[in-house]
Symmetry: C2
Subunit: 368 residues, 2 copies
């Protein structure tokens, strides 16, 4: 399938990937943010990006107490980004590529953060866009999407309905769904390039991520694969994904040794950003977790809320979706899966200011 025909998936219905050998980790320190990784990006003209100044987000170390001890951990505070979520890295690359391809209008679906990001970068690129969100999406995120000038469409029912609506609406036009995009992930992976450099060109022992569609997980694997291929390191970190017990299709598959997301019944969760029943590249996500000798956990709503509060008291304010990773970290430490003397990085994906309403509700009415 050629890009020139603007296919967003294969004729057989499968998702598309960029050829993995196309990329080379070779940072150019003279360039700003993610654009220093031009040799790793699927762009013809990485010197002419659509940019809002994304990348080089904070890297903060702190002590993390759990039942049984305290570990020194490193937080990649990737919520500190032009729209308040790590999605900006991926969307900046995706929109830059779609502009190169001459796309005239973009439709995307999102639980909120990717939609805000897509709306912002389309605004910067002067490309009209339609953002489909589930009706229950956070008020702050919906307002943000509308303020960027996007056409915001609220779709009743679960998250998946927004995807269907976006693809149907796109019809002849290009469907720019970030999860379907072969370009998006190559922006996301730059987060792990920065982790490597912010550790002083060292590979951590463990990376812990919230897991919904799994893009931070696959991004980390791609990045460290490129770092190894470039001869800068001989090893891969263990990559861990964490889901809410209320919606754990990847965790259930991992636990059973299955290769595809396990069908589950979804319950309501405060981790709205990862409440995905269907993970499009779920097979690939499970595969890289296994290849990295990593693992998964499912955590309770109570543990997520506790993780959020514990992190805020270190000066790092995140949304509940992100706190899933902290709850998982605590679990991994308590079970001895991760040792306190190991070098562990947690990826903080979304800013607390994105979910003021929800956090206010949780303070008044904490999960039991």
């Amino acid at each position: 399938v050629s890009e020139e025909e603007l296919a967003w998936r294969c004729e057989c219905g499968a998702y598309l990937n960029c050829p993995p050998d196309a990329f080379r980790y070779d940072p150019n320190p003279a360039l700003p943010g993610i654009w220093r990784y031009a040799s790793s990006l699927p762009l013809e003209r990485p010197d002419r990006p659509v940019t809002l100044g994304e990348g080089m987000s904070p890297f903060v170390s702190c002590d993390w107490a759990y039942n049984g001890g305290t570990a020194r951990i490193h937080c990649k505070f990737d919520a500190i980004s032009p729209t308040g979520s790590y999605k900006d890295r991926g969307i900046a690359v995706q929109v830059s590529r779609l502009r190169e391809l001459g796309v005239q209008r973009i439709a995307d679906d999102s639980s909120g953060n990717a939609g805000a990001s897509m709306a912002a970068y389309c605004a910067a690129a002067d490309i009209p866009c339609d953002i489909y969100v589930p009706e229950a999406a956070s008020e702050a995120k919906c307002l943000q999407i509308a303020m960027y000038g996007a056409n915001l469409v609220k779709v009743p029912g679960p998250r998946e309905n927004a995807g269907t609506a976006a693809r149907e609406s796109a019809k002849g036009a290009y469907y720019g769904g970030h999860n379907w995009s072969p370009y998006y992930i190559h922006g996301i992976k730059t987060c792990s390039f920065e982790i490597f450099e912010q550790l002083g060109n060292e590979v951590p022992d463990n990376i812990v991520c919230p897991a919904g569609q799994g893009c931070t997980i696959r991004g980390a694997f791609f990045a460290f694969s490129e770092i190894m291929k470039a001869g800068k390191s001989a090893r891969m970190p263990r990559i861990f994904g964490v889901q809410s017990e209320a919606c754990p299709p990847l965790y259930e598959a991992w636990r059973r040794g299955e290769k595809k997301p396990h069908p589950i019944e979804r319950k309501p969760t405060i981790a709205e950003g990862i409440a995905s029943l269907v993970a499009l590249r779920g097979d690939a996500t499970l595969d890289v977790i296994a290849k990295s000798n990593g693992g998964m956990a499912a955590v309770s709503e109570k543990a997520i809320w506790e993780g959020l509060q514990q992190l805020a008291k270190k000066g790092l304010y995140v949304e509940p979706t992100t706190a899933t990773a902290l709850a998982g970290l605590t679990k991994f430490l308590e079970e001895g899966v991760i040792r306190p003397d190991e070098k562990t990085v947690v990826v903080l994906t979304g800013f607390g200011l994105k979910t003021t309403e929800l956090i206010m509700r949780l303070r008044q009415n904490p999960p039991a």
Copy 2:
């Protein structure tokens, strides 16, 4: 007055400053964020800072349309910071210094952003703090302050009452008001060091800032003075401050050629972060605007709201306080005070996500 006695002001009641000759612009590119400017910071041990990864915020260029033309402008998107506002630069330096001095508890007063920042950095430093805010402070900011674990005190009446309450409460303890602090401004000035470097070691023609207490303005003047002293440039940019017509004590003084903030009657404004009746260092702020051959403007609530919307459609989402600078920019361009072919930087101080509620109200009920 010696620092060891932990005075926060002179015995005569005046504010204190650090000796200006103590600082030298000599960036160390190997260090992260604002800590690369260690030689410009009032710290004994800048290698042991209280940090949340502040600094090196986005620098984004875009076209800005006004009645009569379009100018290419540069936005220093300093809202993209660990707590969502530019205050983090100043508070990181201030809290680092207060920890060096052995301060055990800090009280500050704020319209919201500095309070959130102080709460976060005190959390990171493990120093208890009390944050006094006006009762009308934004819900999102109050929640953020509380989540960091600070003791949040809402004080009825105008902004100034929060200051009085904080100073009275501090009693024997150290009052850590950021506006009174001699350290805070030296963190704020690093924003302009970055502007210089992000322009490729060039001084812009103009810098436009929202003006309340005037710290971005004085910070810019300090920074470019140090850059000149270091022989990296021979000139100072023109520095412009913008206030709301509803609360313009600095503008009214500037217009009249007075040396101190002019007494005014304050009206309600959506620019809550700069609704200061009393600018503590107002004399110094007016002085540096004059020395830089800059100027001031006062803008309507309607123009602020329009500036906010126009900027959001470039992918940059800010709070109304920040948009004051954009409304001012439009005015300066339309009046020919700033020419479109000049190199103009606007400092974007606070993230839109900080004021979701207010922006929602403005969409429903725009100012006439």
